[in-house]
């Protein structure tokens, strides 16, 4: 079996303790939560930290709460918790959709939202979801807390704005009334990383037109939302023709690479196809949410 190189291990007892440990052990220390990205890299000896700081005891970060206009998710909330949450299903079905296709149920028992976002794998689903939901990342360090938009948080493949001596502690999602959201992924097999995926969030105005929309893509070389789509959709009543146009814009906006999962034009096609699908679903859900309120 593959085996990691030697390292020292310490378990953090609180967020402050974790920050102190990061500070003490410096650049060659790494935080481990679920460990399903880091440990395989360590077994391949592609990652060789001197210190591993285990934050699995930070139960203070394992929460999910609706706090007025925002949903607050602690960085240590496990994927399974997110998948099974009724609040999330109701407010942000895009998260439920995404969680259902992240890795497999057993990995989801260990993996955390914080770990996923900090790993920042280009094929990682929750990064896209957070972009789409305009989430705010709460990062704590020696100098206190910083609030980062996803655009500021996510610096590119495998890179975030979280400094070596900082910890992502919470993700906040603004709750919008009359909204719907959806996520869809194409994978070669259950549990595989995305060939491509798309997520969308739509808010409908009182006149039935789209008052707010965001579309994000996974694994196709786009580290932002498809802003081109937003310009075209806002203010319009949702129609199939608009979705088709949005799909076209998404396929142009992305910049995929050819690999074992498929050639570039296929991935561009998926950006198009999946954008249309998630917009349809998001609008349908938004409309349902409007009718619920009306009733």
């Amino acid at each position: 079996m593959q085996i990691p190189a030697p390292f020292d291990y310490v378990r953090a007892s609180s967020v402050d303790n974790a920050l102190a440990l990061l500070d003490r052990h410096g650049a060659e220390s790494r935080v481990v939560a679920g460990g399903h990205s880091l440990l395989p890299m360590m077994k391949l000896r592609l990652a060789r930290p001197d210190w591993l700081i285990d934050i699995n005891d930070l139960y203070e970060l394992d929460y999910l709460l609706v706090d007025g206009p925002v949903l607050r998710i602690g960085a240590m909330a496990r994927h399974t918790t997110l998948l099974e949450s009724d609040d999330i299903k109701r407010l942000f079905p895009i998260i439920t959709d995404a969680e259902r296709v992240i890795a497999d149920p057993i990995v989801r028992n260990r993996g955390t939202i914080g770990g996923s976002l900090c790993q920042a794998d280009p094929a990682e689903d929750l990064s896209t979801v957070c972009h789409v939901l305009e989430a705010v990342a709460v990062v704590r360090g020696p100098a206190g807390e910083r609030m980062l938009s996803m655009a500021d948080f996510h610096r590119g493949p495998y890179e975030t704005a979280v400094a070596q001596n900082e910890l992502l502690i919470e993700v906040r999602m603004p709750i919008r009334a009359s909204s719907g959201s959806a996520y869809e992924k194409v994978e070669r097999r259950v549990g595989d990383w995305a060939v491509a995926a798309a997520g969308a969030s739509v808010t409908l105005g009182s006149d039935g037109t789209i008052s707010h929309v965001a579309v994000g893509l996974t694994a196709v070389g786009l580290d932002r939302t498809v802003t081109e789509v937003e310009a075209v959709l806002v203010g319009q009543a949702p129609t199939e023709a608009l979705f088709v146009e949005a799909g076209r814009l998404a396929s142009l906006a992305c910049d995929p690479l050819a690999d074992q999962r498929g050639p570039i034009d296929y991935k561009r096609h998926l950006a198009d196809e999946l954008t249309r699908r998630v917009l349809r679903a998001a609008c349908r859900r938004a409309a349902a949410s409007v009718s619920e309120i009306t009733i």
Binding site: M1, I3, F7, G35, P40, K43
Partner: protein
């Protein structure tokens, strides 16, 4: 470093290297060889054990991370000579061939039934979708778990019966 944990209900204290994988700790230090490993990358689920009742892939958990937790391996499934209904189900419905993935499959099945005593076939398939079996083609594993569900007296069922009574 020293770790203290519970394995199959027994308290265990051991001195270990921090990098020891939980699967190696279980197999090599505790000599509980019913837990296997198959892939290194947490894709196959051959190494599944229960940690505080939840299935985890022990090739991707450090033994150090299990400090203070309760681990159940296949050796802890039976109650003495009495097999868990899941174990009986796998024998009744031919849920195993080479037996290599079987311990992990059975532990996931146990956790599933504890959580959901009467799962639908699709729920069973989803629950075991992080585990690979190269021999059975899964249908008999699904049947085995259904057999176990039909032959288990779960806490939920007991409560229901009490309510009825």
């Amino acid at each position: 470093m020293q770790i203290n944990l519970t394995v199959n209900g027994t308290d265990v204290t051991r001195e270990i290297e921090p990098r020891v994988l939980l699967v190696h700790f279980i197999r090599d230090d505790l000599r509980l060889t019913g837990t296997h490993w198959g892939c290194d990358t947490s894709n196959c689920g051959t190494c599944v054990v229960l940690m505080d009742g939840q299935p985890v892939k022990s090739c991707t958990v450090l033994a150090a991370m299990a400090d203070g937790h309760a681990i159940t391996t296949v050796e802890g499934l039976a109650n003495g000579a009495t097999l868990d209904p899941v174990q009986q189900g796998f024998m009744e419905e031919h849920g195993l061939q080479c037996g290599f993935c079987t311990p992990g499959m059975m532990l996931t099945a146990r956790a599933l039934l504890d959580h959901n005593p009467h799962p639908e076939p699709l729920e069973i398939r989803e629950a075991i979708s992080g585990q690979i079996c190269r021999c059975t083609g899964y249908a008999t594993i699904v049947r085995s778990i259904q057999w176990a569900a039909e032959h288990s007296i779960s806490a939920a069922d007991t409560a229901e019966e009490e309510v009825r009574a």
